[in-house]
Symmetry: D2
Subunit: 243 residues, 4 copies
């Protein structure tokens, strides 16, 4: 059974900054989607901020098993109603993978219940080393015990997130900072993954290890095989007899 993936990207930097467009000519979303489309088990579509309803209509959201989310300069332009729609879908059992600067997106902060703030340092082209902190987890399948990105933006602790249920990657940077770069949480019947790398100025989304983690995360977080069965609300007395 295939997994229906919607890669959402604000798609602003590429349209406004030639240097970024050079790195991702069709946008970050298409770079990610191009990789995922090679996996026959995934049905991949993309959606962007400038589309009607940001490309996340009720029909699209309802038919998505797995969201991928990249945003940065336009978090505030995402309509609250659309955020609520994605949020409700995740609680009902869909997965969501939030990338890099998406840490400050409305959807991630709403799911976390924290500020999701962090330290950062840009354009220093620092080396990031990502260490596997939970070998055997499906999300790190086919990775070595670490991998290196030669040029990345630094993100540093304290990262204001709830204690992760699983921290599968921890990074260090040239400057000596550390960061919980791969984390998972459960929200309702859905699974949330945060994965750090992906500054728009660097070709991070062409790195084979980064793409591998994204592909693994999609398969793991969307693995809920069917809608959750649960009821809420008022419950009649004598329920045992009513069965």
């Amino acid at each position: 059974m295939s997994i229906r993936v919607t890669v959402w990207h604000e798609y602003q930097h590429e349209l406004k900054e030639p240097a970024i467009a050079k790195v991702y000519p069709k946008g970050i979303h298409e770079a990610i989607a191009a990789h995922l489309r090679q996996n026959p088990q995934l049905e991949v579509t993309t959606a962007t901020l400038d589309q009607p309803e940001h490309g996340l209509s009720e029909a699209v959201v309802k038919n998505t098993d797995m969201f991928i989310w990249w945003g940065h300069m336009a978090h505030d332009k995402v309509a609250d109603a659309v955020v609520q729609r994605v949020y409700d879908r995740v609680l009902a059992g869909a997965g969501i993978l939030v990338l890099h600067s998406g840490h400050f997106s409305k959807i991630f902060r709403k799911l976390m219940g924290t500020s999701c703030d962090l330290k950062w340092r840009e354009y220093e082209h620092e080396r990031e080393i990502l260490w596997v902190a939970r070998p055997g987890h499906p999300i790190v399948r086919d990775l070595d015990d670490h991998f290196i990105l030669p040029h990345e933006e630094m993100y540093g602790e304290f990262f204001d997130i709830p204690e992760p249920e699983c921290t599968f990657l921890i990074s260090s940077f040239t400057g000596g900072e550390v960061f919980r770069s791969g984390c998972t949480w459960t929200r309702g019947a859905g699974r949330v993954v945060y994965f750090r790398p992906g500054h728009e100025a660097f070709p991070t989304y062409y790195d084979k290890n980064v793409l591998k983690v994204i592909e693994n995360a999609v398969q793991w977080a969307a693995a809920t095989p069917q809608p959750a069965k649960h009821t809420f609300g008022n419950r009649k007395w004598g329920w045992l007899d009513q069965k």
Copy 2:
């Protein structure tokens, strides 16, 4: 050093329903505050929905180490700006104890990142038995290994919360339902506690075990001894040399 406690209550049922006013003549907030005031380490004030800014002005929030929150019929009337103010204070290190129907309050849902929905059954005067699931935790100090409330509203699983960091009480009800009645989470530098009992129609907040848990929770969740030291934002290169 004393703990500054603000007991917040929407205080609507007692003003509108004589049967409830009979149980809590001065309101649930004053019943709880009356108990806490016997503890010389606690500085206790109360605040209610109908007060200006719901009694939660910037000055009040800034000078609160521990919030207690009871709401039910008027969750939607709590201003978003006030919710944000309390939220920011919790992330900065204050504690918050959410009681009973407060599970659906804006502040609790914002801190949890989930719907906080549940099953329920009212006015059947069911017996609730609360079992200690983490003996030795400061929140269950002076409790036996269980206690009984003869008349309560039923709350049942699935309770849509993130996996608790600690589940210290689990309840069963006459109808056979179960509920995670005492749970804790960390959010930013602050601590969040949920404690289930407290239907407005029953004298639950005069029960010595219930009051004991509330008092323990205040002392545990507000135990952060000083503001958290942490920085966010852009970080200059060469920080090591700048020390």
Copy 3:
């Protein structure tokens, strides 16, 4: 790719007590295995205490992706070397499902780091209601929001386990006790599941919901697709250059 399952059972009660043999003529292990064998993705074998090395030779353990463990009266007769072998295999990435009185087994206590003690009451034929506390989790696939076992032994909290990473089922009993009946933990690269039901005197392992949880747990806990890649030990300076 199939999952290699080894159902381990001490297989003592059935041989010594005619009343138990009547319920499980070929032993609990064969009742469970008979169900699992209907799933073509599972390669199922059984092993028992009285076999050489308890049926858990190095070859068997090495070729097991998922262990199921039932023990009760003979926990102390399980050789420490065999326990260590299973333990090492779990840390290396295999799954293990511990059933009912297996809570006191050497392997479960070794994996938990706690006493795993609990309250209990036997032969009262109590009704157990198991409530789903994490809808959407693969382990509760195809379950309703609760299910009922008409006759079971009571287990009650405090159950001395580390806080579960996921509590997927919580039970209540006729006597009003509650119990975390379905829990998961990660140990090394492996996954540990505890599932409560299964007193030897009752036909619990013929119940379709119980069998469904067991089958789901096998598929979830053994889902690690390949050996974990990680290294331990002394690490040479200049590792970056040595790649």
Copy 4:
């Protein structure tokens, strides 16, 4: 009410290696104890491997609220019966702080349920930077958002521990490795803390930040104010009437 602290140290390196004795003339245990004794709320004693019962007689263990544990070359010489005694005391509500190479001690591995293995590199005098990952936690009180140790042994991930309930410090090293250097878990009614720094060849236990974490950890982990009230074992029918 004072906290009774027992600082346990294998005390072998200092007696056998003059270079180590030069750093810690009275042993690591006395360096730590000397600091803690300045806190009037702490009653501090020390115990070492070569003493009868390793200085951990039943009387000593029974009267300890908080253990500190340093071991390295002699883990295997610690008697299993003494380990069990300390273990039982922790489950009953005492705290334990395991330091540095104590990660491989019998007591820590028994409490964790994992191998506790890790990567390491010695005698390279690497710079360790420890970043606070949970500001506001009592264990990091009075720390800045990071601190630096100019010379330490490297420990690197994967560190084979169960997912911590709280990760309060994460380190990076000169070589680019990272490590979860401050972690907490609950076991029974007791609290377990692991704190990484402390190679015997370096004066780490004179560093004010390291000493501050140790002192904070003692006060936090031993904070259980009284023995846990809980019962195990067979429970009679009709318990409600027997009260």
